[in-house]
Amino acid sequence: MWKTIWRAIVTPSLTRRLMLAQVGLLLVVWVAMVVIIIRDIAYTDQWYAPRLMNNRGTMILAVVDGLADRPIELHEALTRIDEFQRNEHREEDTQGVRTTMMVWVGDELVYVTPGERRRVQATTPFVIEHSVQDGQRFRSWMQPSTRSKARVVLLLPSDGEQVFLALWSRGFVLLPIVVSLPALLLPAWLSVWLALRPFRRLADEVAAKGPEDLAPLAFDPKHRELKLIGNSVNELLERLRSGVERERRFIADAAHELRTPLAAMRINVEALRERPHSSEDAVLLDGLMHSGDRATRLVSQLLSLMRSDADPHTANYQPLRLDELAQERLAMLGGIARHRDVELELDAPDEATVVGERQGLITLIDNLVENAIKYSPARGVVRVKVSAASTGGAELCVEDAGPGIPAEIRERVFERFFRAPDQAQSGSGLGLAIVRAVAEAHHAKVTLGVSEAGGLRVLVNFAAQA
């Protein structure tokens, strides 16, 4: 689960890119604000704070000098000033943050902020100094009296604390950004997500396309960037389609053209066979006939494969009675079955209707039944069953008593020109490829299994069609 989340995080996405760009920009703005404020503080220390401190020191020293002979009133006045200073910037009255005051006369400490342990007697006058005492960093201001030995020392928070305080006190500038930055993430993500919706629609449609579907995209985006992508995809599909179509037509034409020389060869061999010949010649003539038949079958299978591969959108699909078609085709194949001494049996008790193309379905049934007859032992039975599925589709099942197909090559036998090893029968290796091509064009599923007699069972499942 963590792995999935991590992968989702590291995989680049346009949404994330846009998001990061937005967040990055906001961060830059934020940092810029902070820098401006820090610079402002540095400026304050150099120019503004000394003047302010000087006034403050002068005021305090005036009180100290004026009340020098009345210690009780002096202490009272200094305590009030100290209290005012400690809460001046609405900061907490805590050590390290507050402004601390010490008043010296000579070496005598006249006043110190209660609870303050640091003692600073003298530093460079009229300059804000940075010092460390007891591991505590702070800034200090020392101002001597011009009339007496009195000195006032003010301890101020260090730079870092000063920045913090400054940010705090300037919160009215930064607070909106600090608060809105995380709150901006959701609307930013939402807006990006919404804006990219047509992009996702295009991607979804391309992804949903099957390997055989080369029709142009149905989605026609209006956006400039997407239109470019959509048009390129459509152009690519068009080029692919015309390429595939050209190739298909070439193979079909080639197969078609091969029929005439094959016909010529056959009729010549047959004419020769009718004439007197020796028994050795008969073997040779049979060989010629046999190979001629094989080539003929291969050519006609190539033709039907190319036809079943044709664009399904142009084919003539209509509701057909599969049970009647099976009866018709089995009657046509009765001759071959008898020739091989194989019995055909049809079980089609119900009406079974499929939406399909007649020639394609004939090719499918013929190939399955011819295969079953070919691999059946003498006096074996080929059972064909047609039934209406309860879901609305139909099912065609062809069973033989032959050797069957081992489970490990059941997927491979659908490949073109694949022939099972140790094959006793000659064949083109195209029969099942044709069956699958026709089935796919009809949205039907072909499953191979074991028949009751231990041979092959081929199940073709036609899905219900709206």
Binding site: T260, A263, A264, I267, N268, A271, Q327, E345, L346
Partner: protein
Amino acid sequence: MNVLLIEDDIDIGNGVRIALTDQGMTVIWVRRLADALASLEVSAHDIVLLDLGLPDGDGITLLQRLRRERKTLPVLILTARDSLSDKLLGLDAGADDYLVKPFALAELLSRLRALARRSYGYEGDTVEVRGLALHEPTLRVSVTGKPIELSRSEYLLLSTLLKRADRVQTRRVLEEQVLTGSAGDSNALEVHISNIRRKIGDGYIRTVRGVGYVIDKAQSRGAP
């Protein structure tokens, strides 16, 4: 039999010519439409074997012209075009039969004979398979010379099976042909067939379960 072969492919033309001549037929072979028309003018042919794709035109035009002029001359189309629409086009234009290349010599001969028979009016004569004979003009059926009495439906069924011997006739075709009145009864066909079998004996009509029935010209090797 006098055959006019119109075929532009030299190898096929030669092969068919020799094969048919060996069978005792007289074959005139032409390779162009123009020659075919000339030959049709001067000689009397019993049958025409017509290839569709010819160097100087389509065989269909010749067929159409032939049908306008002489209606009865049987025409058998020989072509590599095998689509249903091509077949229908040829048959609609007036062809009597249609054979797709490559074809077996035996099939060509059998169709030629069937066409010739039809054109000479032989069709009404006796059809006979392994001693089972059917004489159409008199509606008489006999097994090895012994006459058999059949009902009308039984006669129609048997004549369909006999005339198309070796080709399995589907239940649907048989039912449509002979049982128009009682279409609702699904067992009617079985009852008729079993009656026929009782009368002519087993071993003639073979059941192809679920598909239909067939009369084999040769006795089956296995069961009756």
